[in-house]
């Protein structure tokens, strides 16, 4: 199929994708549900529905998967904000500021902020991807193991930020998380470490049980004690909330358009790197957002920008992760890998040949993503008012529901009973950490990013025959090291600067 790729082509493609609303809208709702339930994800839902996808026309099948994927990414933020349960690892940074907002009775506003930043982040990065795909795909050619070690350190340095209020406890929690993250077979010789004889831990500590245990189950234990998600005066705020809260959330987010823009771009660039994902992007975006903020001390207490950053970033990843698949023929993540299977099944090539033979499909995938985000603005935003009412449900009912849902969610990805026990164990660890003033987020950052850091570090060392200087061997890597040092030093510098300015005035 020979086509001219010009403005008319893109306009035609846009309206063609809008015409597929009958696939997009049901997929959005399905995606929201599977994204919001911990343990379920776009990838495992698409696997379950794979036989149906094979029966569909290839274009319809791809649109279905794209809409499901985008909506699940957005949906994962809903329980993260309302009840402190991140649906996926990509939403793990969302509750850091989203949940405190919900506890202040601002759940509806928080959802609105989350939705708008996700949608704008998704629209913006998809539009950029459509135009700059061939160049963006080159990122993977420069971001190798050495560079990724530094990117991981950006995320892990967040432990220090989280630990700012109580350095010793924060660092202990972070190192504890890193230790848990090192459980499992090593990345080179596959020698099991710290598995305590459990085969289920050979591949490392599974993320979902750790995630839901540390955040959700421990929170459920806490609210059983306190009897409510929020103070009584805040309950009144939620009850009195009307549409204006949603509109306020939209306004707040739009007024921070630049923040949404650059944090979503972090997501796009990290998403393009094969194997990197939304969890890395959201933590790095959060860390960068905090570093350049004028009010870093407000992060973790319900700060708007602390919610915008991870949500814009993890939706920026969605477009990025498809670029290596479409342009190079290598899937950037689990969902992209399944899309590749479907495309192969239908005889559609991936990589450069796709854009030569089927540009309507190559560009169409990104246009479908664009249309999905547009339609999500119309369908999801109005729901924030009703969703936020979840926080009014009595903890007598909510706590057991949360525990039951999260335990089932822990079981789903691998279908091991062991994972349910593990989630419960993490719940107890999280509960003890909260009661004794250790930050569960610091533990989780270690659990999520620690294994990735180790993997890239060991790979770089293996390639250099164990020479540690390899970590400083690439110009791009060295630039990233410099930026890392600067961003770590910047908060202290800014603090000093502000103190000086304050004392002068």
């Amino acid at each position: 199929m020979k086509m001219d790729v010009n403005t008319a082509f893109f306009i035609d493609l846009f309206f063609h994708q809008v015409g597929l609303w009958w696939v997009v809208i049901p997929s959005i709702f399905l995606g929201l549900i599977v994204g919001a339930i911990p343990g379920f994800s776009a990838a495992n839902t698409i696997i379950v529905l794979l036989p149906f996808t094979f029966l569909m026309n290839v274009e319809v099948g791809l649109v279905f998967m794209i809409a499901l994927y985008c909506a699940s990414r957005l949906g994962a933020g809903i329980p993260a904000i309302l009840v402190n349960i991140p649906g996926t690892a990509g939403a793990a940074a969302t509750p850091l500021d989203g949940y405190p907002m919900a506890k202040q009775g601002l759940g509806q506003r928080a959802l609105s902020i989350s939705f708008v930043s996700s949608i704008i982040g998704g629209l913006l990065t998809t539009a950029i991807a459509l135009v700059t795909m061939p160049w963006l795909a080159r990122v993977g050619f420069y971001m190798h193991s050495v560079e990724m070690v530094v990117v991981m350190l950006f995320g892990i340095s967040l432990i220090a930020s989280v630990a700012a209020k109580d350095t010793i406890k924060g660092l202990i929690a972070g190192f504890f998380g890193l230790m848990i993250g090192s459980i499992g077979a090593d990345h080179v010789y596959a020698t099991p470490r710290g598995t305590m004889g459990f085969l289920e831990l050979y591949d490392g500590v599974p993320l979902i049980p750790a995630l839901v245990g540390l955040f959700a189950i421990s929170e459920a234990f806490m609210v059983i004690e306190t009897g409510s998600f929020m103070a009584k005066d805040r309950v009144q705020t939620v009850q009195n909330a009307n549409w204006s809260e949603t509109i306020k959330g939209v306004r707040i987010t739009l007024s921070r358009w630049w923040h949404v823009t650059w944090t979503s771009l972090i997501g796009l660039v990290i998403g393009v790197i094969p194997g990197a994902g939304a969890a890395i992007a959201s933590f790095v975006a959060y860390q960068q957002s905090r570093t350049f903020s004028k009010t870093p001390e407000a992060y973790g207490t319900g700060h708007v920008e602390g919610l915008i950053a991870p949500e814009a970033a993890n939706n920026g990843v969605t477009a990025g992760t498809l670029i290596p698949l479409m342009v190079l023929g290598i899937p950037g993540g689990a969902t992209a890998a399944i899309m590749m299977v479907v495309m192969q099944y239908q005889g559609v090539p991936t990589g450069p040949r796709l854009f030569m033979e089927r540009p309507d499909l190559g560009y169409g995938v990104f246009m479908a993503m664009f249309v999905t985000y547009l339609l999500m603005a119309l369908t999801i935003l109005p729901m924030s008012r009703y969703m936020s009412r979840v926080t009014l449900v009595s903890t007598t009912y909510m706590s057991p529901i949360i525990i039951a849902f999260t335990l089932v969610g822990s079981f789903v990805p691998r279908e091991y009973l062991f994972d349910m026990y593990l989630a419960f164990g993490f719940g107890i660890i999280g509960y003890i950490a909260r009661k004794t003033g250790y930050h569960v987020a610091a533990i989780l950052i270690g659990v999520i990013l620690g294994p990735l850091l180790e993997q890239y570090m060991l790979r770089a060392l293996k390639m250099s025959d164990g020479d540690p200087l390899v970590l400083f061997s690439s110009p791009l890597g060295n630039t990233l090291w410099l930026v890392l040092i600067l961003t770590l030093a910047l908060p202290a510098f800014l603090k000093k600067h502000r103190q000086k300015a304050g004392s002068r005035s």
Binding site: A185, V188, Y202, G351, D465
Partner: protein, 335 residues
């Protein structure tokens, strides 16, 4: 009275017949005398649902069930390079021929050579090989290496970084053997999975990579194959008509396959030879059923890789892998 007597006699006869029938019937329904199989057969798959093994299993069992008159019920136990599935199969399932394992004889058996499992590896045997997918040497489309000669020449000048899905993999053994034969120096770097290995080649992080050919074919134009670890290149132009190692270098390396096969407890074979015989017989019948080719092609499998093997072929391959694993053990285990 006569009438009653006749009745009594006929009653006794009928009663005896009924009792006999009941005993026989009861006996037939007891597990010891039941016709095999009288229930579903569990199949443990040591990889994740939705992957290549899952699709191949479903294609094969969709026909095999007709010959066995029962369904095959898959259970997925991914993790630790297949180790979890095998440990579950050997540790938790009765050796009664009502459970099988569907594994990959290449990497999974090599794994045993590197790290011993908790069970005796002779306590199970493979009896039905479904496919063979050879390992290949490949580069990214933008690589400067155009042929295997380029790689060997460069490998004699400096140590080349070679991406592999994991160290204990037939393709890793293949490249080590090539290095030994040619004097080229290779540094194997495990990239944890096929997708990442393809990415390692395409993004040029690695000088080149080794992997089973199915994943390389799937990557299309993004990769270029330079050598095949088999006696023939059955995929032809799908693998860029790359030469085979034995043909090009005159070596005698056994084929470095990823080979998926059904396995069974050795105790089940010993205790229920009739059941094992039925499994073997119907497995072979399935292979020659035209319906199987259709089912296989529907999975977008590459038909020339569909390759029947019985106990003999499987056991000889298993032994070859164990032998090679033992030979390269210090390298694969880092000891």
């Amino acid at each position: 009275m006569t009438e009653i007597g006749i009745k009594r006699r006929s009653f006794l006869k009928t009663g005896a017949a009924a009792a006999g029938g009941l005993m026989l019937g009861g006996g037939l329904s007891s597990p010891a005398f039941a016709a095999y199989p009288d229930r579903n057969i569990d199949v443990i798959i040591p990889t994740a649902e939705g992957g290549g093994a899952d699709r191949l299993f479903r294609a094969f069992s969709s026909i095999w069930k007709n010959y066995m008159n029962t369904n095959f019920e898959p259970g997925f136990f991914p993790g630790a390079s297949g180790r979890v599935g095998y440990e579950v199969y050997m540790g938790k399932y009765e050796p009664d021929a009502y459970s099988l394992i569907f594994g990959n004889m290449g990497p999974e058996v090599l794994n045993w050579a590197v790290q011993k499992p908790t069970f005796n590896i002779n306590d199970y045997l493979y009896f039905g090989r479904v496919d063979t997918d050879p390992g290949v040497v490949f580069v990214g489309a933008e690589s400067k290496f155009q042929s295997i000669d380029d790689i060997i020449a460069e490998g004699k000048r400096r140590k080349l970084n070679v991406g592999t899905s994991r160290l204990a993999h037939p393709a890793s053994i293949g490249i080590l053997a090539l290095g030994e034969h040619t004097g080229a120096q290779f540094n194997l770097v495990p990239l944890s999975g096929g997708k990442k290995t393809v990415a390692g080649a395409v993004t040029l992080e690695m000088d080149f990579c080794v992997l089973t050919s199915g994943s390389v074919i799937a990557a299309g134009d993004a990769c270029r194959t330079l050598l095949v670890f088999n006696d023939e290149n059955a995929a032809g132009d799908k693998l860029n008509n790359a030469p085979t190692m034995n043909q090009y270098f005159g070596t005698k390396l056994p084929p470095m396959f990823s080979a998926r096969a059904f396995g069974i407890h050795k105790a089940a074979v010993d205790n229920h030879p009739d059941r094992f015989e039925l499994l073997q017989k119907t497995f072979k019948q399935t292979f020659s059923d035209p319906g199987y080719k259709d089912a296989f092609l529907k999975t977008k499998g590459f038909w020339p890789y569909s390759n029947y093997g019985g106990v003999e072929e499987c056991e000889s391959f298993k032994s070859a892998m164990l032998e090679l694993g033992e030979r390269y053990r210090p390298f694969l285990a880092g000891k």
